[in-house]
């Protein structure tokens, strides 16, 4: 069953054509890695999936609902589709535990006791249960990002979007975050769409790799074809050789 479907999606910023005729289907449980040079539209694409960016033309179906339809309730989409950002975006005025408990309390009306139990489980899952009473600013970048992942997981979403989750981190922090992400990817029910240049992650857990440039999807391959064979697109080949030898 498909979780996310793009049909001829167009996105403009004024005159600028940010997404060009996107056609993509991502099945439930799939882990898809999205790569491409900066400005290629990969962040824009991922942000359309939970409605942080609106599309102007085409059809975008997420969890069975059409996002182009003005009547679609974005809050309902976002209940089921979590997002992890490059700069974590933890709530600066709330403790780690409160960061995780806020949305389930307000949006899902989850009872307080159960909410806390789930939050602590999620903290445990990302290896940071002992940080619960701290404020976000007291944690390192890598820890904050793992908390951000725990915060998304606590909503029990069907899909998770990752927008360059490791690119703002110090190198020694990256593995901790990637390990948490790999752990989630191995959970067969979770759909993941990940913008990243961490090719080790892609090799290990991705089902598919998508290459974008200039707002278009130029390559959409299985992991095996992308890494072991050769992408058929010339720009994708060049890009891949650059990030791998880098």
């Amino acid at each position: 069953m498909s979780m996310i479907e793009f049909h001829n999606v167009q996105k403009y910023y004024g005159e600028f054509h940010a997404l060009h005729d996107i056609n993509l289907t991502i099945d439930t449980g799939e882990t898809v890695v999205l790569i491409g040079p900066s400005g290629s539209g990969k962040s824009t694409l991922i942000r359309t999936v939970n409605g942080l960016e609106r599309i102007q033309e085409g059809q975008l179906i997420v969890n069975g609902q059409d996002l182009a339809d003005k009547k679609t309730d974005m809050n309902r989409i976002r209940k089921n589709v979590g997002m992890v950002f490059q700069h974590f975006n933890l709530y600066a005025n709330k403790t780690i535990l409160e960061n995780i408990m806020l949305a389930p309390r307000l949006v899902l009306k989850r009872p307080e006791e159960e909410n806390k139990k789930i939050a602590m489980n999620m903290l445990d899952r990302v290896g940071l249960a002992d940080q619960a009473p701290k404020m976000p600013s007291q944690l390192s970048g890598g820890q904050q990002q793992r908390i951000a992942i725990a915060r998304s997981l606590a909503m029990k979403p069907k899909a998770l979007l990752f927008d360059e989750p490791t690119s703002a981190l110090d190198p020694e922090m990256i593995d901790d975050v990637l390990n948490v992400m790999k752990d989630i990817a191995r959970d067969s029910s979770m759909t993941m769409l990940v913008v990243t240049h961490e090719m080790g992650f892609a090799r290990e857990v991705a089902n598919r790799v998508i290459f974008m440039a200039d707002g278009r999807v130029l390559e959409d391959d299985s992991k095996e074809k992308f890494f072991d064979g050769q992408p058929s697109n010339e720009r994708a080949r060049q890009f891949l050789s650059k990030i791998i030898t880098h």
Binding site: L52, N75, R78, N89, L90, A92, N93, L102, M155
Partner: protein, 212 residues
Amino acid sequence: MIAIFHNYGSLLLQGFGQTLLCSVIALIFSLIIGSMFAIFETTPSKFLRVIARIYIEVFRNIPLLVITMFFFVVIPMFVAKINGFTAGTIGLTIYTSAFIAETVRSGINSVDPGQMEGARANGLSWWQAMRYVVLPQAFRYVIPPLGNQFINLVKNSSVLAFVAGFDLMYQGNVIASDSLNTMSTYICIGILYLIITLPLSYWMRYLEKKLA
């Protein structure tokens, strides 16, 4: 000076009470109304943004005295008679709320947009994100400028003197013309204003330290 306090104690006390009452009422309502228009200014709704812009630009660019006279003179001609104290307090509230709206708006704008985005992506509605994530941070930023607005508000309450609001300034004028001891009278009045404003400014400083 002691003689002034001694001879006109009850007038001074009444004036002090009226000034304090007017300040407290105007402070509470201008904070509520000002915050409301600040939120309007940052909503996705263009209609609310335009409404807020008009309100703020009109009322912060008209002298307080003109707004107050409008309520004291014009409104009674068409609607209902209101006394000087009420007219002054309404005028002061409206005038100050326009400044507070601008202050709070600047606080909301200085909160990292990622906070709103993170909250929305987490499933919160725009209002929930504003209420639980953005506003608490915004208020922390704006405590010092809000303190200035509150102090200005207390001092501006002397507008009541023009509309027979029986506040400190009004009583000061009465006492000065009765005792003919103008210097001592206005020094007394000044001291009584300080009794309100100094603790207020001290309290804002304390809040600033505590919440920073």
